[in-house]
Amino acid sequence: MNIRFSPLLATGVRTMVPTLALFSIYLLVIGHDLPGGGFAGGLVAGMALLVMYLAFGERGVRRVVAIDPDRITGLGLALAVAAGLIGLVVEGSFLAASTVSFSAPWIGDIKISTLLVFDLGVYLLVIGLVATAIIHLGRDES
């Protein structure tokens, strides 16, 4: 698609993207207790990429996702599998949830569950997929 640069859109997008990014991380983190989760969070991040694309083209998307979208997809899948393997090793069953808690100075008790690792994998994979789709489907072929 031929995208003409529009200062109005660019300015709007510049203010929108950080908000969208924050919202997407929020959705990822609260997913276990409130509506949200890795999939929805990833889609919101995908929206951020989309508006970047509309405003700045492929270069805009590539500027936000510093690494190759294929690698993000792969990393996401690897994280999800890794969460499963942790379950296999720690709990004796593939994908079984296990939680590690420890206390850090100044911050307090921290609980990290493999559920979050798994969800993070889903999140990254969705971002990678959306980025791939935008870049390839939007590429100007004529």
Binding site: H32, P35, L129
Partner: protein, 756 residues
Amino acid sequence: MIILLPLALYFVAALLIPSVGRRAPKLVGPLAVTPYIIQLGAVAWIASNGDVARVAQLEWVPSLGIVIGLAADPINLMLTTLVAGIGLLIVVYSAAYFSDPAKKARFIALVLAFTGGMAGIVASNELLGLFVFWEVTTVVSYLLIGFNDEDEKSRSAALQAILVTASGGLAMLAGFVLLAQAAGTTSIPDIVAAPPTGTGVTAALLLIFVGALSKSAQVPFHFWLPGAMAAPTPASAFLHSATMVNAGVVLLLFLAPGFATTTVWIVVVTTAGLATMVVGALGAMQQTDLKLLLAYGTVSQLGFMTALIGLGHTGAALAVLVSHALFKAALFLVVGVIDKGTGTREIPSLSGLGRTAPGLATTAGLAALSMAGVIPLLGFVAKEAAFDVLIASADWYALGVIGAASALTVSYTARFWFGAFTTKVGVEPIERAPVGLGMTAPPTILAVLSLALGLFPKGLGSLTSSAVGEVTKLVLWPGLKPALAVSAAVLVAGSGLFVLQRRLERTPNRRLIPQWPFSTATSWYLASLRTLNTTAERTTGIVQNGSLPVYVAVIVTTVVSIPAVVWLAGADGLPELRITNGPAEVILAVVAIAGAVAATRAQRRMAAALLLGVVGYAVSGIYIVFGAPDLALTQVLIETLTIALFALVLAKLPRRFGADPRSLSRPIRIGVSILVGAVIAGAAALANTGIPDRTVAEAYIELAPEAGGRNVVNIILTNFRALDTLGEITVLAAAAVGIAALVGARSRNREREDAR
């Protein structure tokens, strides 16, 4: 542990070597020989310790009772020694053979992986474990035969080898399953101790024969082996003397105690073996390429072993196997030295090598004498033992055929040695570059072993006897017995044939030997390959005609009609359906229906996409009404993104819908739509009417906080049904790859065209 560990080491070393080769090429050699030395040490240790556990088991799929079982009985130890010993020499030789460090590391890693597979086969005592190792050798042999992957011929030879041996392997797996069903166990010792009988077992044996005979290049599967000579010579020396092709013979050896007396065994195995022995020897006699000559000779010798096993003479077969492995590996390695030094393996170009390389000629001479069966080499001792049992059991036909084929063997052996080393009239003596000790020592060791074991065969005889469980006498001087007369007659006839063939070849276009046994089999193979390809092409043409509406129609019709049929078949009368719960739903439903109907009427693509979005947003509203914010959130997000992506794609398409001749007619499309709509609406109404059994749902709600959070939907996705989610995101990842590959390939092609 002592049985499992060396086996595992091969694979570990194979995985490590490519990266080690890049960083520290000097470490490749020491790392590569370690597993062999450890395995040989382990064999010696087990053999000398009476109280070591003789079996090891690895649970693989416990729920199906599938185990990988390994044994250290005399036959396993003997074959393991052969595989590891020759493997060690091959690795040393390969290190000198390849000069490019990257190629060297890749090759040695493959040899190690292959040795692991082969050592697994010869140590297996469970059918399914054996099958796994069998397939390891099949796959790795593909990589070894096609090692020179820039050469088209070498790739097609590798493909041919894997097609023949892997389809044989599949037949064999089916045979294994049938046999295990009939016997009630997959343990080979248990099966042969109480062999099952019946038609099913006969079928099983026939299927197993297909696997064993194809792996060992027996008629009618013999044609792949000469092609496999495209492999680098060290690979041929290993695969086609001591390992890969022996696998079929080894399997038959394992099964012989239980089944060698059945009719199907005697008839099929013996016939295949005898035919192969003759066909292979005839093939070898007409070769001018030294390596090909040896390859056909291998086919023939494997036929010899197979025929002996078919008649139940397992001891003699094992002795022939050992003697063949030693002399054939030595000869292949000698050919490698000649090829490397002179740049050719063609008999007509080689002249004067006996003078310039007397040591090599002696090594080759010893091995060749063993191949011909001349006293005092091991080949003579083994052949003598075979003749002896054939006479004792009065197998006169077999003796006749084997005797005749042995005469041919003598003839092609003479052709090999004289062809390679003598000085030919009218041919310039060939220049020869020196090769290192790493390449000359291994064949020398093997040749000397052929001589030493021939001079002192008693130890090998007692090993063979305990391996097959029957007395097998191996002696240097058998005394003036009929068997000796047969050996003598074979030598005389073979020498006569050699002289006769030489004379005939002086006159052009006169051939002693027919060509058809190999050319016919190869043309059958090619014809079946062609049939397979055309069938696949035609099927694809019908199933995938390129019209997206057809694909979608097929998919959605299948998806809705199968559950609908199943449900209707099981339901007793239609339940009372509850259609709606309140006015909010009705309003949203009207919006959705209006959007859907308008989308079908839209003339412009973009309008249709937007109208579909209307449907999606209305449905997400219904989710809200039902109290499912997670679903609603996801639906809204997906809907928005989909419209945006549609916009990106539609910008490249014509604005209006066009007529596609391949597509479905309007009535069919309407029919499919109504069917899908009706089934989905029915399912939704059914769900709305009430799920009778809520135990699962309630258990999810109850367990969710304990499982990690209060949002049941998310906990189901990431915990309760995490495997489903993993499957789904794998599909997403595949979709991403698909987009990148399909669309990316298009733009890459375009760039290439632009560049022209």
